[in-house]
Amino acid sequence: MSLPSGWEMVIGLEVHAQIHTRSKIFCACPTGFGGEANSRTCPVCLGMPGALPVLNRRVLEMTALLGLALGSRVALRSQLARKNYFYPDLPKGYQISQYDQPLCEGGAVEIPFEGGRRKIALTRIHIEEDAGKNIHLDGRSLVDLNRCGTALAEIVSEPDMRSPDEAREYLGRLRQLLLWLGISDGNMEEGSLRCDANVSVRHVGDTELGQRTELKNLNSFRAVAAALAFEAERQVAVLESGGKVEKVTLLWDAHEKRSRPLRGKEESKDYRYFPEPDLLPAGLSEGELSTLVAGLPASPLDRLDSLMENHDLDFYEADILTRERAMVDFFELLAEACGDSKAASRWMLGELARQLNDRVQNIEDLKLRPDSLAELIVLERDGKLSGLAAKSVLEKMLEEGGSANEWMERLDLAQLSDAGELANLVKSVLEANPKEVERYRGGRKKLFGFFVGEIMSATKGKADPKEVGRLLREGLDA
């Protein structure tokens, strides 16, 4: 996207992440996606008269962990509050959320680039309950409250982003951290990660913020970037034609690739927040917080730096290897076991990534252990397995487990690199094809490949190609 020169965008994001807990935030109902409508409900999440919420402590712990990882101040005492509005998917007529005393304040999401990191400051992170879903069918509206009461963390950024790409990158890094810490599955398609944006434009160099609009329904990374670009261009067009940007909420339509204003009535909502009287102030003790701090794993960015520093990887490699915690853990074990970081990285980003992708598998579900892959890497490096054979062995190990040596034996893939044996083989191939030898010597150098092919087929591809080449040249050019 490109704004006309002289303009810049200012973006802040509000991200809702479903917190991955077994039960809902205020009742014992199981969480999950889909399922028969209204099957995962109870008097509490149905908003039945007399039913009371009881806070799932796990939600506090996991959100505090996120706050700690992002450098937020985590409150020892925060307050749940009621946000009052009517909607059919909100059975109590209010959402239990947080208002003036959120669990976490401040902190930043860091975006790494080659040679540094850029910080996008956070305003706050608070906990709240998810609403249900309205389903519109044949002119009727139905309500499914399975999702109602699923725990959410709302992560609110400062207006610190300047381009759709940066917003997308911010969202990606936040999602990376959520997965890294096991807080959310970050699945945007299933709605476990959702994004709203506030966007305004101004002349480069201005310090005042322009009038912002709010964009809702940004349900994919692509939608975030596209919607922001569309909206910024719209605002610039309005301003350049002498108009004024109105404070509106817009819904992004991913099919039409355009935004539409929500009905005006939704605009001037007064949510009449007040402290939730059914719940006590929520917080973790200092002891619980220090336990969380002690258990906080090294951040993806620290691991990235460490890969560049200790394994001599470039930024690109290190960044990809640190996208998932299981990946970098695997890498470090692999690099140590095979003693070759470059080869380890090449294998993981190349063949392993390709095969995982084909299988739609994650690294944590693998039967393959880092030391088995290390064994394979060493076999290839020492010329005991050809590159092709090594790929076949990897495939077997991914499918059935077992060690590289085992599979090499079982599949009879050990590379022939014994000089004497290969020399005999070369000799017999040359003897069996006198015409071709003659033509080669007469100048048809392309026939070299024919001899290699003959040897390879005689050895079922196991011959060490380097050695074969050397011996052939010896025999032919002699």
Partner: protein
């Protein structure tokens, strides 16, 4: 004459085999059937309740009634509102579950002001409850049905809920004992919320001993109510005979908010004198912020109510009206489903929380509440308990205040301070004014139900009111 003993006597006699629990339940049901047409104390009851025989538990076989805002699995729970017409609770709240577990026998639900909003049990879809002492008068409210049911011996124990006095005031009007324990002592799970930070379940019984027995079963932490308290529950029955000798009790210093007519003033003075004669020492106590209780209460309670009652949109409970759009549907369901007083309070509470007003109203009311709480904290540094009249007057006539909400609100002045502070409070019948009962309230410090029972029992010894009630209500007794 069929026997209808009080709670303790019922349990003792069932246990000793002197009386079957079914027989007792049958007597109560006959009494309800005979008298309810006249008193309208019960909203609905289970005519088959006497079928099973119950022998076990601390309340073995003793019949009880719930106010119609308390959930019990499989029972109609309407809060005396059209908007919950036909709603059957799919679960039991903490209070009903505990009574059932203690072996008590559920008979039915009592009448109330719609959603517990009122002080007269006139704002009910079932029509007003009549005072057993004078059927032209109010039984009080909002737990008027429970108070009238106990006074008229339909049942030895009825639960009520008290948000600003809704147990104590009807207890005083009907000449029975009403106790609201400390906020958090009895689970609010299954109590259909009016004002969550104030609502508390308590008992209406014929005497203090019956209340002590019931409360021992009723109180205790519930994992389903985050605001319920984990502190140990004191044994209450041993407190009944301890007396108040050597204790200090507070009397609120005469102030503009404490103005009584001659009759109620005399009855209250009798209570003070009786406690003094029992060996306790009166101390005048200043509660400088109590005079703001009515204002603070009606802002906080209505603010919470405006949110608590938002769920009644007609989509899931009660009758649903036809409409074209969602907004029209909500409007139709709520306009037709709620009564005038409920609407009045929803509007008031919505206003108190609105942008631009929330600081001046809701938040200021919360600050006032804190000041009132602090007043009490200071007071209880000096005294063991406090006494104050329950109501400024005896039961008023039906219709006398129902069209004058402000005067209705103002009549709650004596019960509101303890509600705002979350204190345990009791109303004990202590005398008559022009033939109508009056109650004296006891306030104890947070969690000190033991002291509450101890002081209430002493007061009761000075005024053995049971005999007076039986004599006065003899015509009712004959009616069954």
């Amino acid at each position: 004459m069929p026997e209808r003993p009080g709670l303790r006597e019922s349990v003792e006699r069932i246990r000793s085999g002197n009386f079957s629990s079914r027989e007792l339940a049958e007597n109560c049901l006959r009494r309800i059937e005979a008298l309810n047409g006249k008193l309208n104390a019960f909203a609905h009851w289970d005519a088959d309740a006497a079928k099973a025989d119950i022998q076990d538990g601390p309340l073995a076989g003793a019949p009880y009634a719930l106010k119609d805002n308390l959930c019990r699995e499989g029972t109609l729970t309407t809060c005396a509102s059209k908007i919950l017409e036909g709603w059957i609770s799919p679960y039991s709240g903490g209070a009903a579950a505990r009574l059932d577990e203690a072996g008590a026998r559920y008979l039915g639900k009592t009448n109330m002001d719609e959603f517990a909003m009122g002080s007269s049990t006139e704002y009910s879809v079932y029509g007003p409850t009549k005072n057993p002492w004078d059927s032209s008068r109010s039984a009080g409210g909002s737990s008027g049905g429970s108070a009238a049911a106990v006074a008229s011996e339909m049942v030895p124990l009825a639960l009520g809920t008290d948000t600003g006095g809704s147990i104590r005031q009807p207890a005083a009007f009907c000449g029975v004992v009403g106790i609201k324990p400390t906020y958090g002592r009895v689970s609010r799970s299954g109590l259909v919320a009016f004002a969550s930070s104030l609502d508390q379940i308590g008992t209406l019984t014929r005497d203090v001993g019956d209340a002590a027995l019931a409360l021992e079963s009723l109180m205790g932490q519930d994992p389903l109510d985050a605001t319920s308290l984990g502190e140990a529950i004191p044994a209450l029955q041993p407190e009944l005979d301890r007396g108040v000798k050597g204790l200090k009790f507070g009397i609120p210093a005469e102030d503009q908010w404490m103005q009584l007519d001659a009759g109620p003033a005399r009855v209250f003075q009798d209570s003070v004198d009786a406690l003094r004669e029992a060996g306790a020492e009166p101390v005048e106590i200043a509660l400088p912020h109590a005079q703001h209780s009515v204002a603070a209460y009606y802002l906080i309670a209505t603010a919470e109510a405006s949110s608590n009652l938002a769920r009644y949109d007609g989509l899931r409970f009660g009758p649903r009206r036809e409409a074209e759009t969602l907004e029209e549907l909500l409007l139709a369901n709520r306009s037709q489903g709620f009564g005038a007083e409920v609407k009045r309070r929803i509007l008031l509470g919505t206003f108190a929380l609105s942008a631009g007003y929330v600081e001046a109203y809701y938040q200021r009311a919360q600050k006032t509440r804190t000041l009132i709480r602090n007043d009490f904290q200071k007071a209880f540094e000096t005294v063991d308990f406090m006494v104050i009249p329950t109501t400024p007057t005896a039961a008023f006539h039906l219709g006398e205040k129902s069209d004058d909400p402000l005067s209705m609100y103002l009549s709650d002045i004596y019960t509101l301070p303890a509600s705002l502070a979350g204190l345990p409070a009791a109303s004990v019948p202590c005398g008559l004014d022009a033939g109508l009962p009056l109650g004296t309230q006891i306030w104890a410090k947070t969690l000190d139900e033991a002291m509450l029972i101890r002081a209430a029992a002493s007061l009761e010894r000075a005024f053995p009111f049971g005999e007076i009630r039986r004599a006065a209500l003899a015509s009712l007794v004959e009616a069954s």
